[in-house]
Symmetry: C4
Subunit: 126 residues, 4 copies
Amino acid sequence: MMKEIGKLDWAFSAGRIPFQSTGKEPEFISHDKIAVLNVSEEEALIEMVIFYENVKPVGTYSVKVQPKRVKKIRFNDLIDPEAMKLERNYSCYIKSNVKVVVQFSRMNTGSNYNAEMGSMAFPVET
Amino acid sequence: MMKEIGKLDWAFSAGRIPFQSTGKEPEFISHDKIAVLNVSEEEALIEMVIFYENVKPVGTYSVKVQPKRVKKIRFNDLIDPEAMKLERNYSCYIKSNVKVVVQFSRMNTGSNYNAEMGSMAFPVET
Amino acid sequence: MMKEIGKLDWAFSAGRIPFQSTGKEPEFISHDKIAVLNVSEEEALIEMVIFYENVKPVGTYSVKVQPKRVKKIRFNDLIDPEAMKLERNYSCYIKSNVKVVVQFSRMNTGSNYNAEMGSMAFPVET
Amino acid sequence: MMKEIGKLDWAFSAGRIPFQSTGKEPEFISHDKIAVLNVSEEEALIEMVIFYENVKPVGTYSVKVQPKRVKKIRFNDLIDPEAMKLERNYSCYIKSNVKVVVQFSRMNTGSNYNAEMGSMAFPVET
């Protein structure tokens, strides 16, 4: 019954990893992240391509999500094939081999400012 | 006319119940919640399964929503079959026997920080 | 080309009009609102029904949106057939005679707390 | 594989450019913006029409997004055919010649207040 939850293709466009942070580690440090839910019986292979404003896309970043598990992926932590750029506008295209549910959120605890925003990523029609 | 509002299956992936709270009870205490709208003439039986990062899914949590009513479900309050884990990333799959509208929101009033975020849960294609 | 933007039926479930407010009028006073965009050549008649947790639904609230205009509707301001209840969870079903785009947002400037959240209302399948 | 990401038509209704700002430039100044992702091999021509509450729609505002790039468009910066009005409710209809992904966000760092909200724009069915 829960085999077919979600979509194979996702994207969000308003990415930006905040540089400054006044929050305490690890819950309140500034970050951009996605939460990926895999309710299937199979391991999900998540492949991501990052798009920037003035340089070529970078990728593929690969992350695995175990069956019947959720995984939070912090963009700050992505380093292979290269570290994510801080304080740069970016977008992300996300492809999975099994259907997953993807939600995007950001916590911004920069100087004299704190906020949290979240939205579903956009399920791309295939 | 309002019999068919919403979907039978919903999911969100970016759950996390904040542990610390500086807000005054009950409006400003940290929480994760969903609001479930049932506009039908029948009682809705909501069944939820919770997915974590490193342990097996837990469920089924059951909640009823009366006809033509809304119900807010705080994840902090879910204790049967077991209490929800605090400060752990989780996802939730939500199944209803009648069509409902589900919206997810979080209030985070932890130390030196306050924020509120909200988004529609993702209506799963059946 | 812009005649058919949006949907006829919308709903959101996570309504709550904050009672306390520390913000300066009018931009920073606590509120729940929807913004309704009508790009058609005709006046849109918006009819809303409000659902609560423990009492019968209240409605119909009616608001008109002129052709090629946007209108923000603050739920605090709805008084006919009866004033909206403060600090009560509510949901809203929105029906229009012409296609419209509806976005829900909240500003919460209560004691020692400020936050803003927004999300698209859920376009109900007709 | 990434040629067909997104939609040709988008809209959001809850626009408002905050006037006051206490944040430091440029990251924390109040703004409304959209992030447009173009993963195609072609330049995207983005055409926007702005709708207000009491005056005629203004447009067309045109912005180009290079192939395989993201572009953030701050509404504060739109000046041709006329500067955007501050502190006025507005909505935006967005049309593109190639499929794009559009996400809307706002940062509000007005007096004694700061918040960030974001949501996907509404993909208009064509």
